[in-house]
């Protein structure tokens, strides 16, 4: 059975969950709608698993050893020969020497092809990659916008990850959101969120990618503002929507431009068309425009500002946004349109933005006390690493990190949810030796944290190392990648540091006064800038800030979700490790053949990565093992970090404020002129009505007299005028 026969159900089922929950959710009992959503998503997840298996079976199978040989042969034999030919041509050597060099090269290429053939264990299924489309929007004389699916390894892997992680987040929410009045609404939103992401990663047409991308934007808007009575949540939802919308403008322009160049938005055609049709400068421009969209969605510098404020949403939403959906969409988009990036020179920008963001966010994270905000910075930083990988030609590595990150970040966020649920506060300083009371949360947090820090053999270690390996390999193309190696490891060091800090303060240390009591509540975001003191006070009062004493452990639904994700965070890295002969790298790759470095080229990266991770953890241990009340950093520095380098303030002053001024006359026009016009019409109708109303006296005689008089007038008029 072709996976196409059921793949369309995968996004449709959660969408159905949305429909039922939004229409009938409140009639299905307290939890009926939630159970339905989870059930439907469970079916989706099973289908996604089947899809992954089928795509894996249909994909070409490579022998790991053979692939390594090909890679080595390419870099050791073919590349020098190519250089020789190019060199011979450049210095204008005699025809004979050029010819000889060329012959050598051709012989080597033949040998390479032989090696490639030998490495192929089983050729691809003829139907691979599975794809289908139906007419959707036809344009006279053009390719139009057919609606279709493409089920290649990338799509299959993403679908599986999104469905599985979303399912566990749903399960977690079952217990976590139990006290909320708008329980069915929450499940409706979160189901459609998952459905949009699932549909996006399967879409064959860039236009539909954009469509579902925007749908996700709407759902994130609604979910971030789920506690809409809080002013801070209102501000946050607007901010998230506006910032991503600005970025989407770039994405849309990029997509329009692609249509103009190719006449189609078919993603399968992109692979063949991009290298042939596009000139380098056009490809660079399109790539940068698409990347602007990705930067906004994936919260990369300089559009990272929305993600921290998005923490106003319920914690499962944060997990959803940070792991399975939304931010992953940006990375996915760049990965999907990679041929365009390869045809131009946009990748260096991608790498630098990614690398810079990775370090930037990792520097900020240790200055925060709100557990969710620490993890939010961590997401920004990790996504930066993914873009660094993509920018360094490490397509497979970036996707590998995307998958592992989805698991351990969802785990960490759900752990933070459990910590908040159990202790009643988001401030790690106020959490009271949680290790005593919350063993499940503690151990799963440790697993997630070690994975994030990149400690062997957890998932994050393998994928992070792959990214760094790609950056190292890219140095040969551009010297500045060497700097990015340092930046990447710097970010990793800080990552290990801040996650260990959060763990030590929250789980190991007794409750203490937060050193930044006021700051922890609303650390330097847009909300702080745009809210009056009264609104801040009202929000604070609305926040149920009851510290639980003692903290309590999570129940079964939450615990199950945590342990399943922890299982992923432990084992998932192994699919990209030597233990499985790099199964993932041999499955998801760009181009004709996977690219595998020999172990001899990899072990150094493993050693450095482990050393960096342990250095970060060790540093945190030294600083925070015993007492953390006095953060040792000088206050101005902490202040600078907590205000996020005043970037939000800058945006507020440069963009938000002037816009408010600009819109004031427009608002006046709307309120006075337009509304006045409408009011005038209403007034006119009312006056006329008042006059005509008098005729309706309610006296029968009046009506009859009117009737008789009219009849008389008619008779007279008709007899004088004749019947004409």
């Amino acid at each position: 059975m072709s996976p196409l026969s059921y793949a369309w159900l995968i996004p449709l089922l959660p969408a159905l969950g949305f429909g039922v929950n939004i229409l009938f959710g409140y009639r299905l009992g307290k939890r009926g709608g939630a159970y339905l959503s989870i059930g439907l998503l469970l079916v989706s997840t099973l289908l996604a698993t089947a899809l992954l298996v089928q795509v894996y079976q249909a994909a070409p199978q490579w022998d790991a050893h053979g692939v390594v040989e090909v890679t080595e042969f390419e870099s050791n034999v073919v590349a020098p020969l190519e250089e020789e030919v190019a060199g011979a041509l450049a210095i204008g050597a005699s025809a004979g020497r050029v010819e000889a060099a060329r012959n050598d090269l051709n012989a080597a290429l033949d040998e390479l092809h032989a090696l490639e053939d030998a490495a192929l264990v089983r050729a691809a299924d003829p139907r691979f990659p599975f794809s289908a489309e139906i007419d959707w929007l036809n344009i006279e004389g053009e390719a139009g916008l057919p609606f279709g699916f493409v089920l290649d390894p990338l799509a299959a892997l993403m679908v599986f990850m999104v469905a599985f992680v979303s399912l566990l987040i749903h399960l977690f929410s079952l217990e976590y959101m139990a006290g909320e009045d708008r329980y069915p609404t929450f499940f409706a939103y979160i189901s459609l969120f998952a459905a949009a992401m699932l549909a996006m990663v399967m879409s064959r047409n860039l236009f539909h990618v954009l469509l579902f991308w925007e749908l996700m934007g709407v759902m994130s808007y609604l979910l971030i503002g789920f506690f809409y009575k809080k002013t801070a949540a209102q501000q946050a939802m607007k901010k998230a929507f506006l910032v991503t919308k600005i970025a989407d403008l770039g994405l849309m322009l990029g997509i329009f431009w692609i249509y103009r160049e190719f006449g189609t938005l078919d993603l399968l055609a992109l692979e063949t068309l991009a290298p042939t049709v596009l000139s380098a400068s056009v490809a660079t421009s399109i790539g940068l425009l698409l990347f602007v969209g990705a930067v906004g969605k994936s919260a990369q510098f300089p559009l990272h500002v929305w993600l921290l404020d998005a923490m106003e949403g319920p914690t499962p939403v944060s997990a959803m946004i940070h792991a399975a959906t939304m931010v992953a969409a940006g990375v996915y988009l760049v990965a999907r349109t990679y041929p365009v990036f390869e045809a131009g020179n946009a990748l260096l920008t991608v790498a630098w933005i990614g690398g810079f963001t990775a370090l930037f966010a990792a520097i900020l994270a240790p200055a925060f006390a709100d557990i969710k905000k620490i993890l939010a910075w961590s997401t920004v930083s990790q996504l930066g690493l993914m873009f660094l990988g993509l920018g360094a030609f490490g397509w497979t590595a970036a996707l590998f990190h995307l998958i592992t990150h989805a698991f351990f970040k969802a785990l960490l966020f759900l752990c933070s949810g459990a910590m908040i649920h159990g202790s009643g506060t988001q401030d790690i300083f106020e959490m009271d030796q949680l290790k005593k009371y919350m063993p499940t949360t503690r151990w799963t947090f440790i697993i997630g944290g070690l994975s994030l820090a990149g400690v062997v053999p957890f998932a994050g270690f393998w994928s992070k190392d792959e990214v760094m390996l790609a950056v190292k390999a890219a140095v040969s193309t551009q010297w500045s990648y060497a700097l990015l190696i340092v930046i990447g490891y710097g970010a990793s060091l800080l990552t290990a540091f801040y996650v260990a800090r959060a763990y030590l303060i929250a789980f190991e240390q007794p409750r203490q006064d937060s050193p930044w009591k006021t700051a922890a509540w609303n650390e330097g975001g847009f909300g702080e800038l745009n809210m009056s003191a009264a609104e801040v006070e009202a929000d604070r009062a609305r926040e149920s800030h009851h510290l639980h004493d003692p903290p309590h452990e999570v129940g079964y639904p939450m615990g199950t979700a945590l342990w399943l994700l922890a299982g992923g965070a432990v084992t998932l890295g192994l699919v990209g490790s030597p233990l499985t002969d790099f199964a993932l790298q041999r499955f998801v790759y760009l181009g004709a053949i996977p690219h595998l470095e020999p172990i001899s080229a990899q072990w150094l990266g493993w050693v450095i990565g482990t050393a960096v991770a342990f250095a970060g953890i060790g540093l945190a241990y030294r600083l925070y093992r015993e007492d953390a009340a006095s953060e040792r950093a000088p206050w101005p520095l902490v202040q600078l970090l907590q205000k996020r380098f005043y970037i939000d303030h800058l945006y507020y002053l440069v963009f938000a404020k002037p816009l408010t001024w600009l819109t004031r006359p427009v608002a006046w026009m709307d309120r006075r002129l337009l509304d006045g016009l409408v009011d005038a019409f209403a007034w006119l109708v009312r006056v006329l009505g008042d006059v005509l109303r008098r005729a309706q006296t309610g006296r029968l005689e009046h009506y009859i007299w009117t009737l008789a008089a009219t009849a008389l007038v008619l008779v007279v008029a008709l007899s004088y005028g004749g019947l004409s």
């Binding site: 309706q696 006296t697 309610g698 006296r699 029968l700 005689e701 009859i704 007299w705 008789a708």
Partner: protein, 100 residues
């Protein structure tokens, strides 16, 4: 010798009497009777035209008017009865209050 004009004259007279009744009487029953008189005036017109115009459409219409007048009286009386029950009186001033 009776001519068409005699019948038309009678009809006009009856119609005028009926209209006068409708316009002047307060009692709803009286108003209804007056309406009936007007209806019958029209009926005479129809029958007369049928007789002198040598066709049957007028007769047919007259039959219709008789049937519908009966139905109308039944409905009208039922309404007036209810008005009376409700208000203890059945005149046109009472109906005025229905406006409010």
């Amino acid at each position: 010798m009776l001519t068409l004009n005699h019948f038309l004259g009678l009809s006009a007279l009856l119609f005028a009497v009926g209209l006068y009744g409708v316009l002047t009487r307060r009692n709803l029953i009286a108003v209804l009777i007056s309406v009936e008189v007007m209806l019958n005036a029209v009926l005479i017109n129809f029958v007369a035209f049928a007789r002198y115009g040598d066709n049957v459409q007028g007769d047919l219409f007259a039959l219709f008017i008789v049937a519908i007048a009966a139905a109308e009286v039944a409905v009208g009386l039922a309404i007036f009865l209810n008005v009376y029950k409700h208000n203890g009186a059945a005149d046109t001033d009472v109906l005025r209050r229905m406006k409010q």
